[in-house]
C-alpha cells in the first residue's frame, strides 16, 4: 500500500471541508433571513391591499348614496359622510358645475380648500390638487353638484404603519415622506447592518390617482443573530474536533504501517545478517574439523579445537534461533516435511555431538526407540534445530553430569488442528495425513530430554513465554544468554502444531518433552529401522539418469551419486534425456525442473509414456519450493527435492520408494 501522510495536505483538506460546511450553513442562514424579510413584504402588501379596499368601499358607498337619492340634502350628506368616515380623518366635498364648493363633510376643513386647484381634462373629468391631501375625483349623478371629491390626508392614506413591529416602514409620495417609529431605532452597528434587508415597493393605482413608494427595511434581531452565531461556532468546533480526531487516527494508521514495515524490514535484516553470519561459522566449523582431522595434533591442541567446535556450534544455534525468533514473531513459520531415513537422520544427530566433543564433564546418553518407522516424513531442519537446541541448553546450563535424550513415536489427538492444513506434505504421507485429519489424530515424534541438575527456577521457566526474562536467582547467571532458544523452540513447535512441555523439580532436574508432528506411510507398518537399509552394493546395481541443462549442476550431482557407487548416466538437454532414457532404461530419473525445451514435469510425462519398466522412480530438482512449481500436486509419485542435491534426502526417498514397491 502506497500511503504517504502529509500534514500540510491534511490541514488543507480539513480547512476546505470546514469552510465548505460553514459556507453551506451560512448560506442557509442568510436565505432564512431573506425569507423572513420576504414574508414581511407579503404582509405589508396584504395590509396595503386591505387599506386600498377600504377606500374603495367608502368611495363606492358614496357613489351609491348619491345614486339612490333624487336630491341629496346637505344635512343628509353630512350625517352620511360622518357615519361613513367614522373617526377617519378623510374628507368628502362636492363641486357645482361652476366649480364652486357644494357640500362638505366637515366644515372645519373649509379653510384648507382655499389652496385647492381644479382642472377639467379633455374627457370632461375633473381633477384637483390639494396640499397634504390625496384627492380622488368621482363623477356622481347629481345635476346641481356633479363632482364629488374624496380627500385623504396624505399621512392617513396608508394603514397604520406602526402595525409591523420590528420593521422600518417608509411611505414616500411626491409631497411627503413618512417613517414609522422603528426607523428611528435603526442601529449603526456595521456588523448588524450586514444583516439588514430593504425593499422599495412602487405602488400605483391610477383609478384613484394613488402613486407612492412603500419602503420596508427589516433588521435581523440580535437574538436571532446570536443563535446563528452560536450554531456557526458549534459547527466550527465540531469540525475542528473531528479534524483532530481524524488526524490522530491517521497518525496512528501511519505509525502502524511504519511499524509493520519496520517489522518486515527487521525480519529481512535479521534473516540477511543470519545468512551472512552462518557462512563464516560454517567456514569456522569446517576449518576446525580439518584441523582436528590432521594426523599430528597434540591432545592439548585437540582440546582447544573441541572448544572451538563447541563454541562455533553454539554460535550457529544462536544465529538459527535469531532467525526463527524473527520468523515466529512475524508468523512466517511453516512445516516443510520431506521423507527421511530415520536411522540415518538420528545417526547424523549422534555424529553431530560426536564431532563436537561436548564439554568434558558432561555425558550425553542418546537413545532412539527401535519402534520408529524406517522412513518418516518430517521437517528435518526444524526437528534437528529443536533437538540440538534443547540438548545444547541441557549441556550448557544443567549442573548435573548426564543429559539423556530418548526419541520415539506416538499417535495422539492434534494439539492445534488449524496448523495441520498449513503443512507441506510429501506424496507418500498424503494418505496418513488424510487419515489423521479425519479422526484428528496424528503422529508425533516424542523427544524426552532429561537432566539431573538443580532444576529451573520460576524465572527461568518464564523464558518459555518471554525470551528476555533475566533470572536473578540463577546460580548460572554468569553464563550469558538472552533465552531465545527455549522461547523460539516453544514458539516454533506451537506454530507447526507440536508441543513443548517442561517439568522441573528443584534439586532433581529438568524434563522437557517435545512432540514434533510427523507422518509415515501406514502401508508399510512392519518396516522398522534396520531391515530397510539399502546397502552400497544395491546402489551399484541401480542406473540413475540425471537430466540437467546446467553442466555444473549435472557434474556435481553426478559426482555425489558416483561417490555412493551409483551407476549414473548424464544428459545435458531434455532431448538427450529422452534418447538416453530409452537407451539405458534407468531405475531412477533425476530431472532439473527448468530445462531447455520442456520443463522437468513435461519431460517426466513423456518418459512415462515410453517406459517399459513400471518401477522407475522420478525426482524433480528445483531451486524453488515445491509449492512454487505449477501443477506439482498433479504428480503425487514424483519426489520434489530442493537444490542443492542432497544425497541423504535422495537416499531417504529412494529407500521409501523401494519400501513401497516391496509392500
Amino acid at each position: 500500500m502506497n500511503y504517504k501522510f502529509s500534514l500540510g495536505s491534511y490541514v488543507c483538506i480539513c480547512l476546505f471541508v470546514t469552510v465548505m460546511i460553514m459556507g453551506v450553513f451560512t448560506r442557509y442562514g442568510l436565505n432564512e433571513f431573506k425569507h423572513n424579510h420576504d414574508k414581511k413584504i407579503s404582509t405589508l402588501m396584504a395590509l396595503n391591499e386591505e387599506n386600498y379596499l377600504q377606500h374603495k368601499l367608502i368611495i363606492n358607498a358614496m357613489r351609491s348614496f348619491f345614486k339612490s337619492s333624487d336630491r341629496v340634502k346637505e344635512a343628509d350628506f353630512e350625517i352620511f359622510t360622518r357615519e361613513l368616515l367614522d373617526d377617519r380623518t378623510a374628507l368628502f366635498f362636492t363641486m357645482t358645475p361652476e366649480l364652486t364648493l357644494g357640500y362638505i363633510s366637515d366644515d372645519g376643513f373649509v379653510a384648507d380648500l382655499d389652496k385647492l386647484e381644479i382642472s377639467l381634462n379633455k374627457e370632461g373629468m375633473l381633477s384637483g390638487d390639494l396640499p397634504h391631501y390625496q384627492l380622488v375625483s368621482i363623477a356622481i349623478d347629481e345635476p346641481s353638484m356633479p363632482y364629488l371629491f374624496y380627500a385623504i390626508p396624505l399621512d392617513n392614506l396608508l394603514f397604520n404603519i406602526n402595525k409591523l413591529k420590528g420593521t422600518c416602514l417608509k411611505y414616500t409620495t411626491v409631497q411627503l415622506s413618512i417613517k414609522n417609529q422603528d426607523c428611528a431605532r435603526r442601529t449603526t452597528n456595521k456588523i448588524l447592518a450586514f444583516f439588514r434587508y430593504s425593499t422599495d415597493l412602487d405602488i400605483s393605482v391610477p383609478e384613484y390617482n394613488f402613486y407612492y413608494i412603500l419602503g420596508i427595511e427589516s433588521q435581523v434581531s440580535s437574538s436571532k443573530l446570536f443563535e446563528f452565531s452560536c450554531i456557526l461556532l458549534s459547527i466550527l468546533i465540531a469540525c475542528v474536533l473531528i479534524s483532530i480526531l481524524l488526524y490522530f487516527k491517521l497518525i496512528n494508521k501511519y505509525l502502524f504501517i511504519n511499524i509493520e514495515r519496520e517489522n518486515k524490514f527487521n525480519v529481512a535484516m535479521v534473516s540477511s545478517i543470519n545468512h551472512e553470519i552462518r557462512t563464516p561459522i560454517n567456514a569456522l566449523l569446517g576449518y576446525s574439523q580439518i584441523l582436528k582431522d590432521m594426523p599430528k595434533i597434540s591432545d592439548e591442541h585437540s582440546a582447544v579445537i573441541d572448544k572451538m567446535l563447541w563454541s562455533a556450534n553454539l554460535l550457529y544455534s544462536v544465529a538459527e534461533n535469531t532467525l526463527n525468533y524473527s520468523k515466529s514473531t512475524a508468523g512466517g513459520l511453516m512445516l516443510n516435511s520431506t521423507p527421511i531415513n530415520t536411522l540415518q537422520y538420528m545417526d547424523s544427530i549422534k555424529d553431530y555431538y560426536n564431532r563436537l566433543s561436548i564439554p568434558a564433564d558432561k555425558i550425553l546418553d542418546f537413545n532412539v526407540s527401535d519402534k520408529l518407522p524406517a522412513v518418516i516424513s518430517v521437517d528435518s531442519t526444524k526437528l534437528f534445530q529443536i533437538i540440538t537446541n534443547m540438548i545444547n541448553n541441557a549441556l550448557k546450563y544443567s549442573t548435573g553430569k548426564t543429559v539423556r535424550c530418548h526419541i520415539d513415536i506416538c499417535q495422539r489427538l492434534a494439539f492445534h488442528e488449524n496448523v495441520a492444513s498449513g503443512q507441506q506434505q510429501s506424496p507418500s504421507s498424503a494418505a496418513s495425513s488424510l487419515a489423521a485429519s479425519q479422526n484428528s489424530r496424528g503422529y508425533y515424534l516424542r523427544i524426552l530430554i532429561q537432566d539431573s541438575g538443580l532444576g529451573m527456577s520460576q524465572s527461568t521457566k518464564k523464558l518459555l513465554t518471554n525470551p528476555f526474562t533475566v533470572d536473578a536467582e540463577s546460580q548460572l547467571k554468569q553464563v550469558s544468554s538472552i533465552g531465545l532458544g527455549l522461547y523460539t523452540c516453544n514458539q516454533l513447535l506451537t506454530q507447526v502444531g507440536g508441543k513443548l512441555r517442561l517439568h522441573s523439580v528443584k534439586n532433581e532436574g529438568t524434563k522437557i518433552m517435545l512432540h514434533f508432528p510427523c507422518q509415515f506411510d501406514q502401508a508399510v507398518p512392519s518396516q522398522l529401522l534396520n531391515p530397510l537399509l539399502l546397502r552400497s552394493t544395491d546402489y551399484a546395481s541401480m542406473r540413475v539418469l540425471i537430466v540437467d541443462d546446467n553442466s555444473f549442476n549435472l557434474e556435481v550431482c553426478n559426482a555425489m551419486l558416483e561417490d555412493k557407487q551409483f551407476n549414473t548416466v548424464c544428459a545435458n538437454s531434455s532431448k538427450d534425456g529422452l534418447v538416453k532414457f530409452v537407451k539405458v532404461e534407468p531405475n531412477v530419473v533425476i530431472v532439473d525442473y527448468q530445462l531447455d525445451v520442456f520443463n522437468g514435469l513435461e519431460l517426466i510425462t513423456k518418459m512415462k509414456f515410453m517406459q517399459s519398466n513400471a518401477q522407475i522412480q522420478y525426482f524433480i530438482l528445483s531451486a524453488n519450493d515445491k509449492n512454487e512449481i505449477v501443477d506439482s500436486e498433479h504428480y503425487p509419485d514424483v519426489y520434489f527435492m530442493q537444490k542443492p542435491f542432497n544425497t541423504a534426502i535422495f537416499l531417504s526417498c529412494l529407500v521409501s520408494g523401494v519400501a513401497s514397491q516391496k509392500a
Binding site: 529481512a268 534473516s271 540477511s272 545468512h275 551472512e276 552462518r278 557462512t279 563464516p280 560454517n282 567456514a283 569446517g286 546446467n550 553442466s551 555444473f552 549442476n553 549435472l554 557434474e555 556435481v556 559426482a559 532439473d592 527448468q594 531451486a623 524453488n624 537444490k643 542443492p644 542435491f645
Partner: protein, 97 residues
C-alpha cells in the same frame, strides 16, 4: 564477503577427489560464462528470472547463501555484476585446486 565466497568455493572443491575437481571447476566456469553472455542479451523479465534461477541453483550447490541477494535483483546489470564477481573469485582459486 569476498573471503566468504572464496572459502565456500574452496570448501566445495576440497570435498571432492583430485580427479573430480578439475571437471567440476571447468563445468562451473563454463556455466558462469554462459550465464554472463546470456545476461548481456536479456530482453525480458522472464529471461532474467530464468538466468537468476540458474545462478541461484549454482550458488546453492556451492553452499553460498545468496538467495535473498539474487531474488532482489531487478536488472540484467545487477546479475551481470554478481556473476562477474563470482567468476573472478572462481578464477582466483584455480591455482589452489
Amino acid at each position: 564477503m569476498t573471503s566468504n565466497i572464496k572459502d565456500s568455493l574452496k570448501g566445495f572443491f576440497w570435498r571432492y577427489s583430485d580427479a573430480r575437481r578439475l571437471p567440476l571447476y571447468q563445468a562451473l566456469v563454463s556455466e558462469l560464462t554462459n550465464i554472463r553472455s546470456q545476461a548481456g542479451l536479456v530482453e525480458n523479465a522472464e529471461k532474467l528470472n530464468s538466468l537468476k534461477h540458474q545462478f541461484k541453483g549454482i550458488c546453492r550447490y556451492l553452499h553460498l547463501e545468496l538467495d535473498m541477494q539474487i531474488d532482489a535483483m531487478t536488472t540484467p546489470e545487477q546479475l551481470l555484476y554478481a556473476v562477474d564477481n563470482m567468476h573472478k573469485e572462481v578464477a582466483a582459486i584455480e591455482h589452489e585446486l
